[in-house]
Each structure stands twice: as C-alpha cells, then as structure tokens.
C-alpha cells in the first residue's frame, strides 16, 4: 500500500494547465524529490496535495483514504506536514513558542506542547536560540524553524518546499545533513521540491520530474541525471544536440 497516491491530477488556472494528468506514488519511508524548471507545476502539485488548491480532476489518496479537496488543516491532521519557501510566522513570539503552535496540533496541554517543542528544537540544534525572536535570526536558521514547526505536528509525510532556497553552499550542506538525520530518527517519508540539485540528488531515492505541468520522467537520481527529456527541459534542445555530437 502506497502512503500517498496521486491519480490523474489536473489543475487549470484560467486555461493554463498547471498540472496535467499527473500520477505518482510514494511508499512509506521513501525520500522523493520533485524537480522541474520554473513554472513546471511543482508548487501547484504541492498545494493540491496539501489542500490549498482544489484539483479540477483526479484523486489524492493518503493511507488509502481519499483526501481530495480537504482543507490544509485537515490534511495536516491526517498526517501531512508542510514547510513553505518563506515561513512567515509570528514576530511577537519566541522560537520555542512558534514551535509550540505546531505541537498544539496534537495536544491541548501547554506543558506537553512546551516539552515537545523543546525536544524538536534540540533535534534541529536550535536550543541556543529558543528564546530568540524570528526577525533576529538569519535565513538559514529561519528555514530550520519552519522545519521544526512542521515536525512538531508529528507528520508521517513531510513535504518540503524549496528548503534550500536562499542558502549558501555550506548552509545547504548543513540542511541536507539535518534532513538525513531527521529522516533516520523519525522514520518519516520525505517529499521535497527543489531547485538546488545539490539537495535533491544526494538525498532522494527516487525523483519525479515535471515540465509544463506534465510528468516527464521518474526514476533513480543517476537515471534522471542522464535522461534526455530532463536535460532538454532544464537546458534546452541545443544542449542535448551538442552532447550527442
């Protein structure tokens, strides 16, 4: 049984097919990368699964339950966590309190929420800044806080939207290591969309490629790196022809 199953998902925006009959399956415990050039439909697919957009056609099954059209807070309660490219959160609250908001998803007890939030901050090596405010922190740390908040809701499937955007190579390396650590410890299933290949290639067990709203390839990272359609989508026809010569 697949953990997440997307069947023939279609989403139009005023005549532009952002997602066109996309199907994919994610098994429990997998790390799946979703890549594609700008405008390929990655974020739309994410938003359809999580519930920010309602698909025009198709179905989304999570643990065999049809979750098509559920609202984001409902899909979260089903077990899908999600981070944003920019996680705008409350500047009036400390990091610990922000993460507590995530913990409150599963408990009403403030003390339990506080305890769990502190544990997650420890896991993400943020304990030293737990009393700091969001606007006092660098982008890399803010990204980790976003991750901590999503983790606090205890998801089974964690969807990461451009977790490395805006980070320098060293910070990118660190966040990849952190993702691997979380994956190992929590037994999560990760689904990440990313521009930065240095993140997707080493970490993903399988990669799905979108272009122009359609799925153009799927496979292990090595195959994807050599796939002609993928290279064409990223670098254009000329590059592919040049390679053949």
């Amino acid at each position: 049984m697949a953990l997440l199953e997307v069947i023939d998902l279609t989403k139009d925006f005023g005549g532009v097919a952002a997602n066109n009959r996309i199907s994919l399956e994610i098994e429990k415990g997998e790390i799946i990368g979703l890549i594609g050039p700008n405008g390929a439909g990655k974020t739309t697919l994410f938003n359809c699964i999580v519930g920010y957009h309602k698909p025009d056609k198709g179905e989304i099954l999570f643990k065999d339950k049809n979750i098509t059209g559920l609202k984001p807070f409902q899909t979260n309660r089903e077990g899908i966590g999600r981070t944003f490219q920019i996680m705008s959160i409350s500047g009036d609250l400390t990091l610990l309190e922000n993460v507590m908001i995530g913990s409150f998803c599963k408990t009403s007890d403030r003390r339990v929420a506080r305890q769990e939030a502190a544990e997650i901050l420890n896991l993400l090596e943020l304990q030293e800044v737990s009393e700091a405010y969001m606007n006092e922190l660098p982008v890399a740390t803010q990204k980790r806080v976003g991750l901590a908040m999503a983790l606090a809701t205890k998801p089974e499937l964690l969807m990461l939207d451009e977790v490395a955007s805006g980070l320098n190579p060293k910070e990118t390396e660190e966040i990849v290591a952190l993702l691997q650590k979380i994956y190992g410890m929590k037994g999560l299933t990760l689904f990440l969309t990313e521009h930065v290949m240095e993140v997707v290639m080493p970490i993903s067990q399988r990669i799905v490629v979108l272009d122009g709203g359609q799925k153009i390839a799927e496979g292990i990272p090595q195959d994807i790196a050599n796939n002609e359609r993928v290279i064409k989508a990223y670098l254009g026809d000329k590059y592919v022809k040049g390679r053949k010569n």
Partner: protein, 332 residues
C-alpha cells in the same frame, strides 16, 4: 486539567517584576479609589473606566491577538443590555438570572455572525462588521417592543435590592465592576498561555502557514469572536443596571465600537495590559475634557485632541503605548 487552568490564570510569574508591581498598584488603586475620592463625578468616571476595561479586554482577543478589525463590539454590548433590560422590565426577572441570558444572547449572536463574517478577510471583514452594527442599531431604533428610539428605563425599587442590583451608593457598583475586570484579567492571563491564544496569534501572522500546522483558522476566529461577545455581554449587562436606562444610541452605537477599538489600539492591541492603559488615558480625558470644554461652549475639541493623540502614537509606535513601554524596557 481545571487545576492547571486555574494555576495558569492566577500565575503571573512569567511576567517581568515591574509588570507585576504595576498590576499590584492597579489593584490597590482600584480598591482604595472610592475612599480617596469624594466627588460623584470622579467615581462615575472610574466606573466608566472599569466598564471600558472590560469591553477593551474582550475586544483585544479578536482585535489584538486575533488581528481582526472587528468594529461591532457595541452590538454585542447592546444585545446583552437589551436582553437584561427587557427581562427585568417586562418579566421582572432578577439581574443574576437575566445577565447569563444576556451573555448567552450576545455570544450566540457572535457565533452566528462570526460563522458568516469570517469568510471575509481584511478590510471586507471590517466593513461587514460595521454594516451589521448599523443594521442592528436601525432595527432597535424602529422596534417598538424594545422601546424604539426612546429606549428602556428600568423602574427603581423602593429599597436597595441586591437581586436587581440597585444600590444606594456607587461604591457597590464600583466593586462589582472591579470584580468583573479582575475576572477578565485572569481569563486573559490564562488565554495568552493557552492553545487558543497561541493559535490566534499564529493566524494573525499568516493564515496559510497556521492552516498547514493543523489550525482550523475559521473556527479559531469564530471561537475568539464568541469570547469577545461574552466580555461585551457582561459589560452590557452591568451597564444596564448601573445607568438604569439604555437606548440604541448608548449601547448599539458604532461610535462605541470605534471607541473600544481605538482605545485598545492606543494602549497596545495584542498585549495583556494595553486595553487597560488605553482606557486609563482615554476615558478620563474624554470625560473631563469633554465636560470642561463643553461647559465653555467649545464642543468637539476634545475629539480633535483625541484624534491627534491616536495619530501621533500610532505613527511613533504601531503597537501603542505598551509597545513604547516594552521598547524602553528592552533598551535597558
């Protein structure tokens, strides 16, 4: 769980020492006020201050912590005030029975309206709350059963009567209002540390992010709006027995809603003490200045001073006077 809740409500340990000292001074001031003042006017202003504290503390929930510009607090006050007045006048039902009914009416009305209005966001929501308030006021002005524009007058009992909250001295009203405000403060102290408090603040910064954290933003806002209704309902019920007279211009007026919102914003919306600070400054200013200038035939200047103050403070620090105080404390 109830013991933990009570502990959270009564414990101010997480606040800095100077805040706790300020709170104790506030309590002492309220307790001794009737004994250190002689004038009836001063005591009346003090009771008005306490009523506005109650309104403001309630509005702060949805307007401050929740960040929703809800300009309809007056209709909640009015709903409860009218329910209490009607029950007392038409069916002779004592204050202690009619007040819970009034609060329930205000809360149910908030629930029904909130369920619809919170489908709107931002300015649209604010405009809708104003529109609804105006509709309610017009209905009450033209509805004979509730006294129309003439309002309702509560008959005076021959002797002071605890059941109907009719006392011979304003001191009793003062202490009753003080108790209500203390209850509201303890509630808010629990609230700011509660799940609902955190969720509401998360929604203020981003509804999309908070939904991804399992928060049903619509329902959380409706809940907060209902609690705001409870506070306003208590205030409205007290207002009725204190003045023994209500009409659609005193308890249903848009001006009252705006006053409550502005007062909280000046004091510091989204902070524990903001509404109290706002009321502490604006109510005496409004009443004394209004009386003083009105006595000299200069009508309306007090409103101008009031408006300039709002502009200056909000330009300097959007989080109001409490924001200024906090900034100063952090610099130390």
């Amino acid at each position: 769980m109830p013991i933990k809740t009570l502990k959270d409500a009564l414990s101010f340990r997480d606040l800095p020492v100077w805040e706790r000292i300020g709170f104790i001074l506030f309590i002492i001031f309220c307790l001794i006020f009737p004994w250190i003042t002689k004038g009836g006017f001063a005591q009346a202003v003090m009771i008005q201050f306490l009523i506005f504290c109650l309104y403001g503390l309630g509005w702060n929930l949805i307007g401050g912590y929740g960040g929703q510009v809800a300009l309809g607090q007056a209709k909640n006050v009015g709903m409860s005030a009218y329910t209490v007045a009607l029950l007392m006048v038409r069916w002779d039902i004592p204050f202690w029975v009619s007040t819970p009914m009034g609060v329930i009416v205000a809360t149910v009305e908030s629930f029904i309206l909130g369920s619809f209005l919170f489908r709107l966001r931002g300015h649209y929501f604010a405009i809708a709350t104003i529109a609804v308030s105006l509709v309610w006021q017009q209905l009450f002005i033209n509805w004979n059963f509730v006294g129309g524009a003439r309002g309702i007058e509560l008959p005076l009992k021959e002797t002071p009567n605890f059941l109907y909250m009719q006392f011979s001295s304003p001191i009793y009203y003062h202490y009753f209002a003080f108790l209500l405000v203390m209850g509201a403060i303890f509630y808010m102290n629990w609230f700011r540390k509660s799940k609902l408090g955190y969720q509401l603040r998360a929604i203020t910064s981003s509804e999309d992010v908070s939904e991804s954290l399992g928060i049903n933003a619509h329902w959380v806002k409706v809940k907060a709006y209902c609690i705001t209704g409870v506070f306003a309902g208590m205030g409205g019920a007290f207002y009725t027995v204190y003045y023994n007279y209500i009409d659609p211009f005193s308890v249903m007026h848009l001006e009252l809603s705006i006053m409550i919102a502005l007062m909280t914003m000046i004091g510091g919306a989204g902070s524990m003490w903001g509404p109290i600070i706002g009321a502490m400054i604006l109510i005496p200013l409004d009443r004394y200045l209004g009386a003083w200038l009105g006595g000299r035939g200069i009508i309306g200047v007090d409103f101008m001073i009031y408006a300039v103050m709002v502009m200056v403070i909000s330009a300097y620090e959007p989080r109001g006077i409490w924001g200024i105080i906090e900034k100063a404390q952090r610099k130390r």
